[in-house]
C-alpha cells in the first residue's frame, strides 16, 4: 500500500497520502508536492540536503517538512527528486531531500506553490495504516 493523490479545491490543490508508517506518509506527501510543482518531469537525485524540522504535533510537523522542501527549491534551487525520512520523534523530524540544481529548461514548472496551509490538515492512523491530508496555496 501507499501513495498519494491530488485533491481538487476551488482555488488551490490538496494532497492525500497513505503509507504503512508515519515516515512513509511524510514521504508520499512530499512526492505529492513535487507532483503539483513539476508534474511527471524526471529529476535526478544528484544532491542530498539534510533537513530537520520541529512541530507541536504531527500535523504541524508535516507542514514544516513540506515548507522546508519548498524553501530548498525556491531559495537554494534544489529541484526535488525524492525524499528520505529517517525518524520522527518527540516533535522533531530528521530526513533528507534528494534532487538536482533547478534548471528551468529541463525542469519546466507546472505550478508555483505559495505555501503549505493548515486548512483541513490531518495526519491519522487507522486499521489500514497512516493517512494524511493537506492543502497548498497556489
Amino acid at each position: 500500500m501507499g501513495g498519494f493523490r491530488l485533491l481538487a479545491h476551488t482555488a488551490d490543490m490538496g494532497i492525500e497520502a497513505t503509507a504503512a508508517s508515519l515516515e512513509g506518509v511524510f514521504i508520499e506527501a512530499a512526492r505529492g508536492l513535487r507532483s503539483i510543482i513539476f508534474g511527471e518531469t524526471p529529476i535526478a537525485a544528484t544532491r542530498e540536503v539534510p533537513v530537520e524540522v520541529r512541530g507541536a504535533d504531527s500535523g504541524e510537523l508535516l507542514v514544516g517538512w513540506l515548507s522546508e522542501i519548498l524553501y530548498l527549491f525556491e531559495v537554494h534551487g534544489l529541484a526535488p527528486a525524492d525524499f528520505v525520512v529517517d525518524e520522527i520523534t518527540g516533535g522533531t523530524l530528521r530526513g533528507k531531500v534528494k534532487g538536482e540544481s533547478f534548471d528551468p529548461s529541463r525542469h519546466p514548472v507546472e505550478r508555483e506553490v505559495k505555501a503549505i496551509t493548515y486548512h483541513q490538515l490531518n495526519v491519522a492512523k487507522d486499521a489500514a495504516g497512516w493517512w494524511a491530508r493537506l492543502y497548498v496555496d497556489l
Binding site: 481538487a8 488551490d12 533547478f102 508555483e112 496555496d137
Partner: protein
C-alpha cells in the same frame, strides 16, 4: 455542516447568529451565487470568522466569495482596536496582493500592428514564473530592509517611476509602522530574488482596451476614454509575504493558546491587537505590504520601458500614468463610524478592496469628488472593471467591496474543460494574445474557471457598495 442562510433582499443574505458566533454573517450575492456557494465551505468560513473576539459589525463576504483558508476569499471583518484580534488568515499568504491600473494616451488602433512584439517584449522585460528574475536588479539585505520600510517610495528613489506615481497609490505606497526586524531571515531570503517579478497562478500583466464607459463623468475624472489603451498589473509580495504569513501563523497558533482564544479552524489563529504578537504581526505585515507596493512600482517602470521600446514614443507621448493601485489582501487600522460613533478598527480585507466614498480624506485629491478608484480584474478571456467607492460601502462594509471574479472550477476541472482546445489559438482568434511561463497556467486559468466578473460587479453596484465606471478588455496577457 449546513449553514443557515436567510435572504434579506436580492443581493444580501444573512447567516443568523447561533452557537459560538458573536455576530451575524452578511453575504452579498445573487440567488445563483448562493446556490453555488452551498456546495463548498465558504459560508461556514463566514460563520467561523463571526466567532472571533472583538468583531464589530457582521462577518461579511463579497459576491466573489469562495473557499479560502480560515477566512473565506472575499471576506471583510472589522475588529475593535482594544478588544479585537488580528489574524494572518484574515489577510492571506499573498500580503498586499493587489492591482495597479495605468492609463495611456494611446488608442487600441495605435498598438494593434505591434501588439505581438509588445507582448513578447513585456514577457521578456517583466519576469514571470518560478525562478525568473532580472539580472540587473540585485539588492543587498540592507537594501531589502529599506524596501520593507519605504515601499513604492523606495522604488521611486532608485529610479523606478516618478514621485507623481505615489499620489495615486493606496496609502501612497507605504504602510506606516513596518519593522523589518520582525521579518524572518527566511522571508527576506525568499523575497530578495523575487522583487520585480510577477509570480504565477492568477497573477498577470495585461495590456487592455477600454471597451465600454458606463459613467462618462467619472471616467473623465479618472482619465479614461473609450478605445484607450490601459495596462493592469496584478501581483503581490511574492515569497516574502508568503513566508511572513507562514511564520506568523506559527506564532499565532501559540498566541491563540496563550490568550485562550477558541478556534473553530486552526487557520483562523490570531492574537489580540493590543498584544505583542498582534503588534508584531501588523509591523511585519506592513513590511510585506510595502514590498508588494515596491514590486508593482518596479514592474510599472519596466512596462513603460517596453512601450517606449516598441512604439518608439517618448514618456510624454505615451503618458503611461498610474490611475490607482489597490491592495486586496490586507489588514489596516482605520477609523469608521459605527452605530453613530467613531471607532478605531482593524479592517481585514481578504480578497476584498477598499472602496472609500467621495470626499474621504484618504482618496487622492484628483478623485475626491468621485470616490476612490476600485480595480476589479476578471479572467484573461473576458474583461476587467473599474469602479469607484461609495457612501453605501462606508455605511455597510467599512468602505469595502469585491476584488475580482472568484474561481468557480478547481484546477482539475478547468483542465478537463480545456482538454481538446488550443486555448492560445482560440484567444488569439478573438484578438487576445497570451504569453505564459508555466506549463499548466493557460489551461488552469481559462475563463470558464472563473465566475463572470460582470455578475460580481453588478451585485456590488446593486447593493450600493461600488459604482461601475468602465469595462476593460484584454489585448495581451502576460502570465507566470
Amino acid at each position: 455542516m449546513t449553514v443557515k442562510i436567510q435572504q434579506i433582499d436580492d443581493c444580501r443574505w444573512r447567516i443568523p447568529r447561533e452557537g459560538d458566533m458573536r455576530t451575524e454573517g452578511l453575504v452579498f450575492a445573487d440567488k445563483r451565487m448562493i446556490a453555488a456557494l452551498q456546495q463548498e465551505q465558504a459560508l461556514e468560513q463566514v460563520r467561523n470568522v463571526a466567532t472571533l473576539p472583538g468583531i464589530v459589525g457582521p462577518s461579511m463576504a463579497m459576491p466573489d466569495i469562495h473557499w479560502g483558508y480560515g477566512f473565506p476569499i472575499g471576506g471583510v471583518a472589522a475588529f475593535d482596536a482594544e478588544e479585537g484580534v488580528v489574524s494572518p488568515g484574515g489577510v492571506g499568504y499573498d500580503i498586499n496582493c493587489g492591482v495597479r491600473l495605468l492609463r495611456s494616451a494611446l488608442s487600441a488602433a495605435d498598438i494593434r500592428p505591434v501588439l505581438a512584439r509588445l507582448a513578447d517584449t513585456l514577457f521578456r522585460n517583466v519576469p514571470a514564473g518560478v525562478g525568473s528574475q532580472r539580472r540587473d536588479l540585485k539588492i543587498s539585505v540592507s537594501e531589502e530592509r529599506k524596501v520593507l520600510e519605504q515601499g513604492a517610495a523606495w522604488a521611486v528613489s532608485r529610479g523606478f517611476g516618478n514621485a507623481e506615481d505615489l499620489d495615486h497609490i493606496e496609502a501612497r505606497g507605504t504602510l506606516p509602522g513596518a519593522d523589518p526586524e520582525l521579518v524572518s531571515d527566511r522571508a527576506l531570503e525568499r523575497g530578495r530574488a523575487q522583487l520585480g517579478t510577477l509570480g504565477s497562478g492568477n497573477h498577470f500583466l495585461e495590456v487592455q482596451e477600454v471597451e465600454h464607459i458606463f459613467d462618462p463623468a467619472v471616467a473623465d475624472v479618472l482619465g479614461l476614454f473609450a478605445g484607450q489603451v490601459t495596462v493592469s498589473i496584478h501581483t503581490g509580495s511574492r515569497g516574502l509575504g508568503y513566508q511572513v504569513c507562514d511564520d506568523y501563523l506559527k506564532l499565532m497558533l501559540q498566541a491563540s493558546r496563550k490568550y485562550g482564544i477558541a478556534l473553530p479552524d486552526r487557520q483562523l489563529c490570531c492574537a489580540p491587537l493590543t498584544s505583542p504578537e498582534g503588534r508584531q504581526y501588523l509591523a511585519a505585515m506592513a513590511g510585506a505590504a510595502n514590498f508588494a507596493f515596491a514590486n508593482r512600482q518596479i514592474i510599472t517602470s519596466w512596462v513603460r520601458e517596453s512601450f517606449e521600446q516598441i512604439l518608439a514614443l517618448s514618456p510624454a507621448e505615451l503618458r503611461l500614468s498610474v490611475i490607482y493601485d489597490v491592495c486586496h489582501n490586507i489588514a489596516k487600522m482605520e477609523t469608521h463610524e459605527f452605530e453613530g460613533k467613531k471607532r478605531r478598527l482593524c479592517i481585514h480585507r481578504k480578497g476584498a478592496t477598499r472602496a472609500f466614498a467621495p470626499g474621504h480624506p484618504e482618496t487622492p485629491e484628483l478623485y475626491r469628488t468621485v470616490g476612490q478608484p476600485v480595480l476589479i480584474p476578471g479572467d484573461m478571456g473576458r474583461y476587467s472593471y473599474v469602479l469607484v467607492g461609495t457612501q453605501g460601502a462606508m455605511e455597510e462594509t467599512f468602505g469595502s467591496t469585491c476584488h475580482g471574479a472568484g474561481r468557480m472550477l478547481s484546477r482539475h476541472a478547468a483542465k478537463k474543460v480545456a482538454r481538446g482546445h488550443n486555448i492560445e489559438a482560440e484567444l488569439a482568434a478573438r484578438g487576445i494574445l497570451i504569453r505564459a511561463a508555466g506549463r499548466a497556467t493557460v489551461a488552469e486559468e481559462i475563463s470558464e474557471a472563473y465566475k463572470d466578473v460582470a455578475n460580481v460587479v453588478e451585485v456590488v453596484q446593486r447593493a450600493g457598495i461600488g459604482k461601475i465606471v468602465a469595462r476593460l478588455r484584454p489585448l495581451a496577457v502576460i502570465k507566470g
